[in-house]
Symmetry: C2
């Protein structure tokens, strides 16, 4: 396997423009893909999955690209810290990093729960509106 995709293919699969994809790379939201000798970008499935996640965070959660950047950085921190704590001094450092990451994650969780609740409230509001419309239509006939 190990299939590679050029930027136009990726754009169509994700519903983004080519410009946007390059822009996201520029911001560090996705890792720079391989290139051909001529400079053409060659993306993998992972890139596409990542882009779809970003679109989700952007559209559904309303995150700014800056917030997503921070989040991506956090994930990378965690990915890196999986290994390499051979030295005793590093242990304390790693612990504090993990604690900090935990704080941030908990904060994100609280924020998401808050959004979920507000969104459910909003849904009920909309349902009330629909009920009024339905009743209005019934009255008409």
């Amino acid at each position: 396997m190990e299939e590679r995709y050029k930027i136009d293919e990726v754009a169509k699969q994700c519903g983004l423009t080519k410009r946007t994809i390059r822009y996201y790379e520029e911001l560090g939201l996705i890792t720079p893909p391989e290139r051909t000798e001529g400079g053409t970008r060659l993306y993998t499935r992972l890139h596409i999955e990542r882009l779809k996640q970003i679109i989700n965070a952007r559209d559904v959660l309303g995150f700014s690209l800056q917030e997503i950047t921070d989040f991506v950085a956090l994930r990378e921190q965690l990915a890196q810290s999986g290994d390499a704590y051979r030295q005793a001094e590093e242990v304390e450092l790693k612990r504090s990093k993990l604690l900090e990451a935990g704080q941030m994650i908990d904060q994100q969780l609280r924020m998401i729960d808050h959004k979920l609740e507000k969104m459910k409230e909003f849904r009920k509001e909309i349902e009330r509106l629909r009920k009024r419309v339905t009743e209005g239509l019934e009255k008409l006939q």
Copy 2:
């Protein structure tokens, strides 16, 4: 009762700036408040409630101000159409308006449900991250 608030008070209660409040009025997101003889805006509780709803739609649902404007217009349509269908010709008009409104509302409902689902997915993703952090901390001690 019928208490009135000046713009700075409203700004503090809503967590907005005065500029933003005037801007939202300019866009038609809130009805223009009464004025004193000198021109000072005097807001009611209703204005404040409305502003809080707008903030919710903006921050939680990620709606653009344009989308909120449309939504506000829809609500007003429905509020108006509660009465006044004395003439026979108006009945058909009202029916079509109600049908159109119903379409839009259903669309909104589907969109919200979609967002709710995606948000829950995202929440699980974050929880997985937290689990990894917790496990990492346990391994350290």
